[in-house]
Subunit: 474 residues, 3 copies
């Protein structure tokens, strides 16, 4: 236990036993379990990286642009402690003074103590860039120079990293209005990697999405359907899903404010569509339309086999002043209490027992884990539970997830890990944290004699690989 | 630690230190505590076994009929992973191919890893049937044959098992429309066992219960009261409670969708009764009637001393298709968020400070433990907290219960364990899990010097025996 | 581990390793961390002690009057188990038979097993009064006599205890109608202690507060403003805040039933003020007025720099019969579910990004920690999270707080510990529990290699001292 007993700083950023239990018995079991899964390939079935990186295979930009500017986990914490978004050059396409931004980040790096961001960043700093002294004001320039230099080398080009990370599958998230030219370019290039799109129709099914009406019209142009009528609109969505499937897509994703679903008649749904398209719909109508569209998406999934994911419960753009100045995705999305039991009932009434249907549920409201989500997933054949999401994608969050859901839903109604990130360099770190945390939890079950060790080895492998592949039909 | 350090399967299903902390210090304390309570008699003041078993004392049927068909914990998990209810012969009175059902169960037994069902079943398999190799496809027939054979022996008749389990009291749950002939027959037989009914009036106080109006009419016939009038209806309930008391009943139980109570005037309540009996009541009226009836039941408890239990917060029969085909209790009851603070206020305003009144609260919404239930029970003299219920009747669930309520309500506003089961053979296993888990938690307090060890011995005994007896007036 | 391995009672009430992890590795780290903070001065920026004690410096009364009568943690537990408030002489100004009250308390002292009250009381009994045998019926008189005797000695006068406790700052909580004569008297006495008021305007901003209209009128008299008009009312509040500041006040506090805020126009707010002052306002109007007043208080804080604290979510005086007989604060305040995300939005829309504004949020609803509070505090520069409050001010409660908020908000969006007590003698005990619990949590992070040990020392110090001083502008 090299960091214990001294008040000096550790000589490395990462300890080989990190995230394992302190007690020697479960730690030994966790080590054994982890040894069998640490080198398994990475399946990344849900995330937000850019296909363009792999299509063009250009070097990543400077350290600030790579680690600070796009990562709202990072800049929301800095902002919360009084660092201005101007000083971080947030929203600036070409950074004027990336080294200055980096230095600010280094000055405040202590804020991330105890957070998963710290674990992810330290992993990237050490494992990718060979850094071993902690980031702080004093080491800021050393970090900047080391990272900047390496980013220009061939080993740090996107495709090289993809291979180095042992990725088997990497899914992006894409609008139906996206031509997917970069995905096509990757395929055409002959490079043997499996980078696949995910169908995320929020821009054309959420009447409150910026530009909704124009988006629907554009969908009509792209598909040759008359999206001014509800049947044409549905056909346009169906054919776009088919287009995504041709490029390897296996799943859809839906980011509504609630998990509400509906079961309107065809006529009722068509009238509601006319209303929302007219721009005269009230908030309730818009919510009902989103609800109905979740059920329509389920209906299409039953037919075309795309796995459906629902990510509900975020109050987006909560900070009005920041939104007005900087726009969406500025670290001000805040979870709210989320009901699943009543919200999902209309959809489940219709499709809950369909054998060819998979619906993966996520939550930002942990109180729903044992109360609603595990009981639902432990009954309905279509339901699976997505891994801890967003703010809960962390050692404590993952531990709570397993402790709250396993006893009711078991391991086999869960789907393994999602890294869910736009920070490509953090992907191995995130999977490392997830694998270690799962091994720690399994080790605890083993030493408390709640699970035999031979079974724990199988479960560890299933959580890392098999369940991901089967749930996402990879 | 015999299962640690090897990747082979354990030689027994149960380790003697199961559910104890991994660390040797608390484990040693837990062992010492458990040694003093493991052989205490079992008090089972709330459950769903059948008095008929003990009245008739016939052999239990085959393994599938015993372990799979009646246990919705079991078949809901199988169903959630795509096993059809047809294949499990759910709802079939006489199984056509019980061995086939058993084999399916064995094939999927790995699904129960990490669940309490696995702990309960392994206990019964080993302790009752002497099985020591894990259930799987390969051992399915060995299990089937072993269990089937033993079930026909005298040691496995219901009364023999009751005695072997060291049951001191076993409470069933019964409708007011139940004649309780089996309870009478047990008494008449001269067999010295204490099997007592619990008064559960849902069929005659919940207007949404199937057959409510006919049930109320039948209650009138059974009691000789005119249940078309509210006073007659209340008298009928009172006299039925008295009939239950004569057969040893000490408690009532109430399974409403919410914990809502009301304080209507006698006249207002009578008018509402007329409305719900007319069949023209809206959903709000029905909810208000249930609320008023909880307060009426409290009023009767103040008079006749029956302990009142409320089990709220389940959205029953959530799966419409399964309900339409198979009916109630098919594993599709899902918890919802439950308020206690406002819901109970009308009842507590009237009876909250009555010295002769005990109201035991249960929850499916764990977020209420520290927020509402512990503060309420830590103040009102009538209130006690029931043990973790249903989906939370598990090692992690029990641990959360104690961690969330003890600091505010203490140990002495809780009432010990309920097995709450219709699976008679699982009763010793469930109490074993509860006793071990309590000892583990107490051991943690002892080694962290938050409780002296001599006190922990007393608390362990109180949680297992004394608090059950006093809370349920046994 | 002196209490382990024996069934006899411990020889002291407190073990030197209490609240540290059982495992020897994290325990060793916790010990090292604690050694560096155990003797730091106490900052008490939020509490309910009385300035009069220090102004007059008279002996505290008898043991029952000191430990039982004013402490609703104590008498709510006794009441919950059937002890009558009459027998405890609650509400009686001069106790008739304090020794009898003390003996009842001693008889029932076992009820506090596993509660923080037990930890706090044992600490005071041993560390202040030198008692080493556990309080019980047998030792009741020994305790009574020992405590009663010591209370009359000079070492136990309020000012002597303040110095013995190493208090650096002690904040009281005060109504705007309070003349603060005791605070002035302390200053005038030349005694070098920092006892400061906190501005708590509930009596004049909550229309449901007893005597609201008279209170507002009296505020007018005290400030020379015409508080029958909204502008005069606001000026009266501003000048009262200034008066508090002159006596060292750095913070305000707000105990509303919800966290709701509003953004009415000046005209709309003025009309609402007229309505609530007329006494004809409905419940919704009263709630809206409280909401608007939170925003007005934020506006004043932006100007005068007073730190704002919100303590929402308690259903006050839940027990009607107890309230009617004994009045407020009788242990019957029960938490309810609390929304922050929507409730705070109007206030944050206006002041959320103000650099000179600090708003400290508290909760009684732990489900909000990871879902709402940590994400909010991890983004808005004005927001900080107050420590676990009231029912959650306990080892398990503190552990949950850190586990639920740290990964999203970090350590540096929290503000250290509040003892929040009117039980002056419990202050060192409460800080002892908080410091030990924080060290245990940090030790766990260290041995799991999630935080380097040198960083843990810094964090331990920051949580105990630096963050308190900076958050409360002390």
């Amino acid at each position: 236990m090299s960091t214990v007993g001294r008040r000096v700083q550790a000589l490395t950023l990462l300890h080989e036993d990190r995230l394992f239990p302190a007690d020697s018995n479960p730690r030994a079991v966790a080590r054994r379990l982890f040894a069998t899964i640490r080198d398994l390939p990475i399946l990344s079935p849900h995330g937000h990286t850019s296909a363009a990186w792999f299509a063009h295979n250009q070097p990543f930009p400077d350290p600030a642009k790579l680690f600070v500017q796009p990562d709202h986990y990072v800049f929301r914490m800095l902002y919360s402690q009084g660092v201005s978004l101007e000083d971080l050059e947030i929203g600036v396409p070409e950074l004027k003074d990336p080294r200055r931004v980096w230095r600010i980040f280094a000055d405040y790096y202590y804020l991330f103590r105890g957070t998963p961001t710290r674990l992810w960043l330290d992993y990237a700093f050490q494992e990718l860039f060979g850094l071993s002294e902690r980031l702080c004001s004093k080491t800021a320039d050393l970090y900047y120079d080391t990272i900047a230099e390496k980013l220009l080398t061939p080993e740090f080009l996107p495709r090289a990293l993809y291979e180095r990370f042992r990725l088997d599958v990497l899914a992006t998230t894409d609008s139906p209005l996206e031509a997917l030219a970069d995905h096509q370019a990757i395929r055409d290039s002959g490079w043997k990697a499996r980078i696949i799109p995910t169908f995320r129709p929020d821009p054309v099914v959420d009447p409150e999405f910026a530009g909704f009406r124009e988006n629907v019209a554009r969908l009509g142009v792209m598909t040759g359907e008359d999206t001014r009528t509800f049947p044409g609109y549905l056909r346009a969505l169906e054919s776009t899903r088919a287009r995504f499937k041709q490029l390897g897509c296996t799943a859809t994703d839906h980011g509504h404010p609630t998990a509400r679903t509906a079961n309107l008649s065809l006529d009722g749904a068509a009238k509601l569509f006319d209303l929302v398209l007219s721009g005269r719909a009230r908030a309730e109508d818009q919510e009902l339309f989103r609800a109905q569209m979740l059920s329509e998406m389920a209906c299409m999934s039953v037919k075309d086999g795309l796995v459906m994911q629902i990510h509900p419960g975020s109050a987006r753009n909560h900070n009005r002043q920041v939104y007005e100045r900087y726009g969406r995705d500025m670290g001000a999305d805040i979870p709210t209490a989320t009901d699943y039991v009543h919200a999902l009932r209309p959809l489940l009434d219709r499709y809950g027992n369909e054998p060819n249907f998979t619906l993966i549920l996520f939550t930002l409201d942990e109180s729903a884990y044992s109360r609603e989500l595990a009981p639902l997933a432990g009954h309905y054949p279509c339901l699976r539970l997505g891994p801890p999401w967003w703010f809960h994608d962390s050692p404590e969050g993952m531990q709570r997830f397993r402790e709250y859901v396993t006893e009711t839903a078991g391991f086999y109604n869960t789907v393994g890990f999602n890294d869910d990130t736009r920070a490509f360099l953090s992907i191995p770190a995130r999977h490392d944290v997830a694998r270690r945390t799962d091994c720690s939890l399994l080790a605890k079950l083993v030493v408390e004699h709640r699970l035999d060790e031979d079974e724990a080895f199988e479960v560890a492998h299933d959580l890392t690989y098999k369940l991901v592949r089967s749930a996402y039909k990879l």
